[in-house]
Symmetry: C2
Subunit: 384 residues, 2 copies
Amino acid sequence: MERVAIIGASMTQFGQREGWIMDLLAEAGIECLEDAGVDSDAVEHLYVSNMASGEFEGQTGVMNALAHDLGVMPAYAQRIDQTSSSGGAGIYAAWQSVASGASEMTLLVGGEKMTHCTTGEATDIIASIAHPAEYKQGVTLPSFAGLTARHYLERFDAPRESLAKVAVKNHENGVDNPNAQFQKEIDVETALESPIVADPLRLYDFCPITDGSAALMFCPESVAAEYTDEYVVVSGIDGATDTHVVHEREDPTVMGGVVESGRGAYEMSGREPEDIDVAELHDMFTILEFLQMEGLGFAEHGSAWQLVEEGYTTRDGELPINTSGGLKSKGHPLGASGVAQGVEIYEQLIGEAGPRQVDADVGLCCNVGGFGNCVITTIMEAAQ
Amino acid sequence: MERVAIIGASMTQFGQREGWIMDLLAEAGIECLEDAGVDSDAVEHLYVSNMASGEFEGQTGVMNALAHDLGVMPAYAQRIDQTSSSGGAGIYAAWQSVASGASEMTLLVGGEKMTHCTTGEATDIIASIAHPAEYKQGVTLPSFAGLTARHYLERFDAPRESLAKVAVKNHENGVDNPNAQFQKEIDVETALESPIVADPLRLYDFCPITDGSAALMFCPESVAAEYTDEYVVVSGIDGATDTHVVHEREDPTVMGGVVESGRGAYEMSGREPEDIDVAELHDMFTILEFLQMEGLGFAEHGSAWQLVEEGYTTRDGELPINTSGGLKSKGHPLGASGVAQGVEIYEQLIGEAGPRQVDADVGLCCNVGGFGNCVITTIMEAAQ
């Protein structure tokens, strides 16, 4: 089967934005068409990764509205929801649309408009991802993160500072990302002294609430060559679920969806963890960066914190993680985040990551839905 | 490329149901696993067609919850939203998952829980499908239907009774469908004397608000043979958008999405309108059955009403349409409807439609999102 290529990418400024969801989606969509050099009438499928425009803004049908706004009609349009991993699910859907032969040019646009809601409203909407048996008792996603972090730190004798260092690293990367919500360095002390959110986690262990959009353009590799010499291929991709009731999991420090989706993506690509040169992980909470590093085989179980302490995951380390700034400093507009991970890896692989550039031929994204309820892992490679 | 087969189907009782969305999805999902004879651990991808569980019930993450409830973990799970054509979009997504090689066993479950809302609440949620420039002026989907119906009747000199006869036919079919919301015959007079909703359309020109779920099981044809001799193949499928702002369309009696998706499905299958033996059309409003008959090439533009008058589309006519009872009498739980269309065609093609059985080897479903904003057409054939 022919490989699926990515030939263009874009992302809007992430942060607190004016307007509504359609403005954000259209901005990223138009920029991606331009970046890829693709005419709007060449687009055959349009996927919109968006978790909850209906809940956040009372607006549904965003994929049809975007098809109209971008002038891609009669292109097929569909919305993809996989909660916080909607963007990664969009990459999987776009990949399937091309790999199945259904489309020769697929535009994926992910986006979410959230900052007009109060934190309470947004947290309520996001909490409804989880099983009612848990969230109706008040166990929201930040609570799970706090419980997991305490367990991890005690069980593996990890210092509290190691979590703060994830935030410090990702903020440092965000400084060089002009589209990041926060372009501001922080130090370990600031992180450790910030207000408690879910003990032992504090404000700087959490991603912000964000508005933003990101886009990618997919086509068969034979078509890519008509547009550009600089493209990447999706060499491996898989998604997997874990229990929807989080407390039923055998080991709270193992995310089954990460392990299974990673296994599938490695197998499909013929790659191993050692082959990965750069990765974007889903650091919605700092503790998640540890769990994904371990679940994806970058670190032994219980030892990711040591790699972080050693600087293994900084931009000049062995395996740079979240060079974009991650969800932590770039921001986390739910439907956009997984797409934006792909945008960062795409730019790293074609050498257009500017001051964030690292030396990379093979990259990986891991996008986590819920508290690991569904996870998508994607491996991309620079075209040779 | 290997063809994609459907090896099992199910639907719940449609109507006013107790419980919440997860009860409905699980009921259809379990029944489909049983019908297909597939173990839950053989399922690799799970798609849930659902437009708005977040808006209707404050519950998101339904695909992850269903993966848990059905015990199909670590199967990949994703929600499909294409507004009222979410079910058809689910068929397309399931087809792509198998055709791309991503999954060898894909379960599609569509469902919606709506009747606990007031009609006003439900109408508001559904109206948000449309462009705000229209719905914020009060032009909801029923209004579009009324405007289109008046234009059609006057322009093509069609009698008002012809629309009522669509409702009468579909109610007559619904009598023989034990899962239909209404199992009650009506006559033309009853339809014509029912309360006005959007002039000239009256109560019996509209589908009801419904709770329900339906499911289909997809796999490559080579895998199907391991499970059963009686299966169908998806020989053609395509989706297409039309303008999101309805009043921008050149001709209000032509739904571009129907025409384009039909053209794609015919081309892929090598079939023509004359080859279709049975069809399920999206009769959310009676006028839509005319527009789809014409857009899909079953009738000349402006003449579908004559075929209905002649009895061409009854169960003993040349081309039986909506043998299931259609959305009109079976009901229209948004995310379930397109899947349930597929269930009816599947049952007709394998000869298990009971008292509704017609003689058919090739069937077609047309699922309409919004007011034709996005449309999916699927052609299925009995395996030989």
